[in-house]
Symmetry: C2
Subunit: 363 residues, 2 copies
């Protein structure tokens, strides 16, 4: 077991520090969820299963947010391993909470090709003889509560950080802002998918910024900055850069959702179309006269593979695909320029450029 004290000792050795912190993060995340699982033994069996599902869920993941946070913190000269690891765990736990609640909102039973919490619990209840509607309600309730538990655990870690009071409060502000903005973005996303009013390109970009960029890029970078005691100027620069990276990430995500390879993304290229997900890609395609013809297909929850292909053809022919690709390329250039101009440590510059390239070009 890696104790916090070990982590504190090692962060001063910068060569080994990064890998070490990544490991310490994995250990700590497993530890805090494991504590919940152990405690759940005193409760009903199903509650224990819920915590086991959360342990499994926390094992995978790309760790985008914790890595960004840990890397930035080290580059900015931070030396408190315990604080940065707990902040990284809080960001990952928030991510898990939002993913779980997003699945409840979308009524999804699968994530990345596997049953999610709703799906797992609903299936088990069905096998034990529950009616379909009851089983589905049980799955949803399990997910909803699981999200609440992960959100609470995230807050709990941040509230207990043993750092100077001003930094702790600044970190709490960053985290609360992230929840506030991502809830605003998620709410607007659901609203746009009702199609009760036309969505402008700007609406969609603002929604994407709030829903994803805020907690995935701004919050980890700003948490790293306030915990490392970065200057106000640096925090301002990082805010602008994070905003741009988040939009690039989401634009790529939207393209992958319609044109990606399911074998690589682990996500069906039907679900966004069936859900009627309003993206910049779709907002652009809508302006093409040919859209009218396929409009009824968009958001049809029973959309066939053939009709999805028709939709894709119209989107492609509208120039939307090329438009979004060029927008991604432009934004990447813009980030590189911002990063070059900003007064940042060289290691952080390099990290931001790497993250931008990964977000812009991932498949």
């Amino acid at each position: 077991m890696v104790s916090h004290d070990d982590a504190e000792a090692v962060i001063t050795d910068s060569a080994a520090g990064r890998d070490y912190l990544d490991l310490a993060f994995e250990h700590r995340l497993h530890e805090v969820i494991g504590q919940g699982r152990v405690r759940s033994d005193a409760f009903a069996a199903a509650y224990g299963q819920l915590w086991e599902s959360l342990e499994r869920m926390a094992t995978g993941g790309k760790r985008i947010r914790p890595r960004l946070l840990i890397g930035a913190y080290e580059a900015l000269g931070g030396t408190d391993a315990r604080a940065v690891v707990d902040a990284a765990c809080a960001m990952e736990l928030l991510h898990i909470a939002l993913v779980i609640h997003d699945d409840v909102i979308d009524k999804d039973l699968m994530r990345r090709g596997e049953l999610n919490i709703s799906g797992t619990f609903a299936l088990e209840a069905t096998l034990r003889g529950a009616h379909r509607r009851d089983a589905s309600a049980w799955g949803e309730a399990s997910s909803l509560l699981a999200g609440d538990l992960m959100l609470t655990l995230a807050h709990s870690l941040l509230a207990r950080m043993d750092v100077p009071e001003a930094r702790r409060r600044a970190a709490l502000d960053v985290f609360d802002d992230a929840v506030f903005e991502s809830a605003a973005g998620e709410h607007h996303d659901v609203w746009l998918s009702l199609h009760l009013e036309p969505a402008t390109l700007q609406d969609v970009l603002a929604m994407v910024d709030q829903k994803t960029a805020a907690y995935s890029f701004r919050a980890p970078l700003l948490l790293a900055a306030v915990l490392a005691g970065a200057s106000a100027t640096m925090i301002e620069e990082l805010t602008a850069i994070a905003r741009e990276i988040g939009v690039i990430y989401q634009l790529r995500d939207d393209l992958l959702g319609v044109f990606g390879q399911e074998s690589e993304t682990g996500k069906s290229t039907l679900s966004d179309l069936r859900e009627g997900k309003e993206t910049l890609l779709i907002a652009y395609a809508r302006s093409d006269p040919a859209w009218a013809e396929v409009d009824p297909l968009f958001g049809d929850s029973d959309l066939s593979v053939e009709d999805a292909a028709r939709l894709r053809t119209v989107i492609e022919a509208s120039g939307a695909h090329v438009f979004v690709e060029s927008l991604i390329a432009d934004r990447c250039e813009h980030v590189y320029a911002l990063v070059r101009r900003a007064e940042l440590p060289e290691a952080l510059r390099q990290q931001l450029i790497d993250v931008t390239m990964t977000c812009g070009s991932r498949r």
Copy 2:
């Protein structure tokens, strides 16, 4: 506007202190939700409406938890008005969050005779032309996010309390425990309502204790105690007393849910029966041979008024009603004995007896 400094000045005057703190609580609760509403102006219009709904929701309520907390804190000699008001707000915000998420789990559109957040948002979308399924998903998403926001606000207030570190951590522990236990209880409640395994009286009592007593009685009393610096013995005694009061409260609630006057409780006496809510009342009635005959009616979401009356007759004839009433009376006596034996300030003794009587006899 009542500032925190005013509140701090007044708590030393114990005659006026209690009323003053109740007012300061109302002011502060309105203030923190109002800050969210103001901030939401920078986001989509519907997000502002969501915050307005939360403001309205926070205006009513019986204030059971904040009053218990404030009263106990004063009786225990606490003098930090700012801390106790923020702790009281955190408890009320947690209550609001749990109520909202409970409605999502039960798919309720009404609460206390009015449209809840899901109902309000779904109705508005329907009037604007949304399909029924979309409108309902929009309502649910709004509630789910609203609950997350209130849970976050609760954590946020506690994390920022300006009290000695040991007390702050003890308060955070109490709050986290309350979330952990109420999630366990809610999860078990949904599980029992699937009726996949028989529920013993003990199962139901444990569920009720976790779901309601933990956050409604234990958490407010323990928060008051740790913030006022009460002894470990006193905290132990309060824990036992709170557990008993919580069960009394819930037993009364279950009786009112089936036999209450809708005009007084504001709650339909059909919903618990339609939902198939497992309570001690039902667990007892099930042991009567006559139950078999009405069993299919229990949990029937289309249960008629006539069939509900048949169910009530069987429950009554089984002796369950009398059994639960006598259990409530026994438990009340037990609490009075515990309170008399405990080493507590006289004012707190009186408060606990009053709360117990109110919980035991309310209509």
